[in-house]
Symmetry: C2
Subunit: 112 residues, 2 copies
Amino acid sequence: MPGELFHPEIENVTLAQVLAALDDPMRLRIVKVLVHDPDTGERTCTSFRLPVGKSTLTHHFRILREAGLIRQVDRGNSRKAQLRREDIDRRFPGLLALVLAEGTAPETDPAD
Amino acid sequence: MPGELFHPEIENVTLAQVLAALDDPMRLRIVKVLVHDPDTGERTCTSFRLPVGKSTLTHHFRILREAGLIRQVDRGNSRKAQLRREDIDRRFPGLLALVLAEGTAPETDPAD
DNA sequence: CTCATGGTAAGGGCTGGATCGTACCTCCCT
DNA sequence: AGGGAGGTACGATCCAGCCCTTACCATGAG
């Protein structure tokens, strides 16, 4: 698992960037799952059971990460994703509430 | 100026729709202007001084209207746009605050 | 009436970005 | 050591959506 991952300072993230990141069914779905997750859930990419190939997943998770929405940490074998809740609430107060209010959490496999 | 314009009930607007509408520099800019506008400003499309052709303007304003973000009313010669402030605040509380917090209002011609 | 202004409708060009397939890497397990 | 699982990188394809041009329609002013 090569080099360190780029995580932007939340202050440097623009609203436009976040809107672009959320303007995609897959990515909105990912964030919905994370925001509904009771514990500060670290989840593998594949646990979301998204109907796309592996490389497409990598693509989406990178965009979410570069938009400051998620953190990705290497946990030995796999790479876990985690919502940057506090950061987002500070930089974009009310944003997560909007996502939370919209519908319920899509199906996933919380085991991973 | 043909037929009546379609304005969706705010309850039927989805978050995805709004995110899609705001995920465009032109449209985000339009909403920024409107949200900064002190009076409940009715403004003509051209008053925004956007660097695109007329038909492109029509395109963007339609998308904003169909996303429930603006209201468009015929005022004789021209067609004025207005932010649906109360509706948006009810359906997506906090959304306009996010736009408001992001930067200042772009240049326009408030006269129109 | 005539014309300028503000706007819409339809059609086409172009590009960004979502997707996939393949190849490759790394860690864990046996 | 060897294999499988989870991820990344790169290249190619494809399509939605932005933008423009052209043609057209109202309205209001002169």
